[in-house]
Symmetry: C2
Subunit: 471 residues, 2 copies
């Protein structure tokens, strides 16, 4: 334990600045929090401007998440126009809404003009219609048109995540002209890593990475060094699908085009990283029946979001119970069955969820498709058989010895083999079928798999016991 | 269902080239696979060179994963030096090893010289010592020294993932000198997005993004436009920690430095994206007790990798069974208890795993720390109480009606409330305690949480029944 902490300490130190606001465990340093809290209480604007306003947006976001709700609003008010609205893209939705709801629309409008368009859209999209319109109305015309166009694309589409600021040049320019333009033009994006080549109607012709420009002589024409854009992203493409293209082709940024192939924006890898992370996160949560909750949600919201999953599971639990009910007479005769039956059902559930997890993720990452599905099904069948025999033997021996009844041991051994094979098949086939049916397998696979392993477990164990042990 | 498929079809079409090798569901087109298979069988090198050799590395990787093992080796042999070794970084480890083991070391050595150093290291690090040394011995001196240095860093460190090719200039150069150098120098990396500023001993002084260079006039001195590197990555820092820094500060690339602050390489976001993905993947698998298995693993390997988790669960299953055993006499009296008891245990398990998943992920993403742990514990306690009361009432009513016994209903209602509260506490506290103890909470939380919800469920239900129903 202390080894691990030491490692972290050393590497953190080496990698960070002198005035790191984080302690070794990655949380914000307590003394910094205390100092900020005091400054907010004392309305010490000077301290806040010097030490809080200049934090990186993600650091400011972490700070906002670590202080009390009252302090958050006070801090935003005290910083006024020095408050970097981008920090709101780094906090939980609940905290973002809480702050934005309290900020006057004028202050938001004034601050939103300084943001990159993707960050502005991120904040605007959560606002209710009226607030959003009020804020948009106070923005300059071109800004307003741009943001409105991005907001017109469907939620979670590439068009929503894209940045509408980009650098584009005509194909007949030379490298020299391009460099001169970049040196003279004042209205460039804050940062960019590619230049797009377009025709007068904004149709995308090609892309040039900046290092290519820097390597070429001034007289070389742009059209001779631009490369074809193999992967323009349609603005209405789902962000997940766009993320998969980024991953597959190791892109740093990609052109976003409208239905007519006209350039409307650029999607950058930093936004895509968030999408990838959200995706995996979503699968983890769905597999265990947790909705889109966030750490800052209230008791009421959290409790409500978890009820549906529990409710569905309750229905299947009663179904399994009714399977047991069929064998009431047998259990009355041999109580040992009641003691052992959760083992058969539970081990099947564990084995099933192993297979299911692998299948769900393989489907999500597109590693599993029609070319290898049959091979993987056979593999899982093999694994189910082998582990079924292994655990059947172990459980059968222990149970036979515990209740001094070799026949009981044979019954539970057989039931374990049946259930672990059923678990492997269910864990594999259910996600595959749900996926074929166009449903997200992460959402509902677990309920079905557990229902099958529970019912198969009880049915095979109690059924075999009724046949073999009752004479 | 057909709607979804249509959507995908349209967007895929819009986003892809004419000769897309993928079908709508993301798998490789069957006719392309058949054509490649035939070409391999006919030793049609011309077709393979024209249609397979020029695929993107990730497409070639997908192709390798979709064809049969025999075809893989034949394809690599037929393509000879036209085979892009980078594709091996895109396939499962088992497939990579299978191919690399069969390739002559000379062919690997010849091909590895063309790779970026991070890709070369990725392939070399899995080879056994002797093969690796044989291949390294055939490389040019500087290449060999670079790769060896990267391989000397610990596994999964930033030093292993970095690229050792980078562009660096002295601080006293002007923008003009830098551009001239980039135009004349032939030994530049294939692509780069930043230029590093170093002193004669290679100590890192600053960084300049390429767009900054392009915006500035030729006579401006580098040292006046470079920015401080706030986040240099120590070469021995773990790749996960490096990925967190990338995420936090939205970096596209970062300098990797040795213990003395000397620049040794550059870590780029595309490698970091893989790390982020692997991380989330690891947590998903660990939560359901699946090891580092891959889809291409054999039945034997898969079965073996899943045994430990099942074994641990078996031990806790027997512990729970022995809790039931304590109440043998009670069950003999009231068989309904045997029918209902899996509901109490199972619902507790579901509620516990919801809380546990949220906690494990919040710890992994550093959203949960000492500043909000207490608040989150209180929230989970509240959720456990509310959902416990809700589901206790539902289950109690149904059970009371089913067995026409209101007393039984009250017993199961109380047991449900106790167990769902226990589930919330266990789901929260166990990952927190494991994390404090320096263990990865994703690995073992589920076993403990299930053990607690099973035992609490059986104990509270059967215990209360013994006290209240047996007279």
């Amino acid at each position: 334990m202390s080894d691990i902490q030491n490692d972290t300490l050393i590497s953190r130190k080496a990698g960070s600045e002198e005035h790191d606001i984080y302690s070794e465990d990655g949380s914000i340093r307590s003394d910094f929090l205390a100092r900020v809290g005091a400054a907010i209480a004392d309305r010490d604007v000077l301290f806040l401007r010097q030490n809080v306003a200049k934090l990186h947006e993600s650091e400011l976001g972490d700070l906002l998440e670590s202080i009390l709700p009252d302090q958050r609003l006070a801090l935003v008010k005290l910083l006024g126009k020095d408050f970097d609205l981008t920090a709101l893209t780094e906090v939980d939705e609940a905290i973002r809404m809480e702050i934005v709801d309290q900020m006057p629309n004028e202050q938001i409008a004034a601050a939103i003009g300084d943001l990159d368009s993707d960050d502005a859209v991120y904040i605007l999209e959560d606002l209710d219609h009226q607030d959003r319109e009020e804020i948009l109305a106070q923005l300059p015309f071109t800004e307003r048109v741009r943001l409105r166009r991005a907001l017109d694309y469907p939620e979670s589409s590439a068009g929503r995540r894209m940045q509408t600021e980009f650098v584009a040049v005509p194909p007949f320019w030379t490298v020299g002209q391009t460099i001169d333009y970049l040196r003279d033009e004042e209205n460039l994006p804050d940062s960019f890593s590619q230049i797009f080549v377009i025709d007068p109607t904004f149709r995308l012709l090609g892309i040039i990475d900046l290092d290519r420009i820097l390597r070429c002589n001034r007289q070389i024409r742009i059209e001779t060094i631009m490369r074809e854009t193999n992967h323009p992203i349609p603005a209405d493409m789902d962000q997940e699908e766009a993320a998969q293209i980024f991953e597959q082709y190791d892109l740093l940024s990609a052109a976003v085009v409208d239905d007519n192939g006209r350039l409307v924006g650029v999607l950058t890898i930093d936004d895509v990283v968030d999408v990838i992370q959200e995706e995996a996160e979503e699968d983890i949560r769905r597999l265990s029946g947790v909705g889109d909750e966030e750490l800052s949600d209230s008791v009421k919201d959290t409790s409500r979001s978890r009820v549906p999953w529990l409710m569905v599971n309750l229905v299947t639990a009663f179904l399994s119970a009714s399977v047991i009910g069929l064998f009431e007479a047998t259990i009355e005769e041999i109580v040992a069955l009641a003691i052992l039956m959760p083992i058969v059902a539970g081990m099947g559930g564990n084995a099933g969820s192993q297979t299911m997890t692998v299948t769900v993720r393989a489907l999500a990452t597109r590693d599993l498709d029609i070319h290898n599905a049959w091979r993987v099904v056979r593999r899982e069948a093999g694994v189910g058989l082998i582990n079924g025999m292994l655990f059947g033997t172990v459980v059968g021996s222990v149970a036979g010895w515990w209740f001094a009844d070799p026949h009981l041991g044979m019954v539970i051994a057989s039931a374990m083999m049946i259930n672990m094979f059923a678990a492997a098949m269910a864990g594999m086939m259910i996600p595959l079928l749900l996926d074929k049916a166009g449903t997200d397998p992460a959402v509902s696979s677990a309920v079905f798999v557990t229902a099958i392993t529970d019912m198969t477990g009880f049915m095979s164990f109690l059924g075999l016991a009724t046949l073999w042990l009752l004479k």
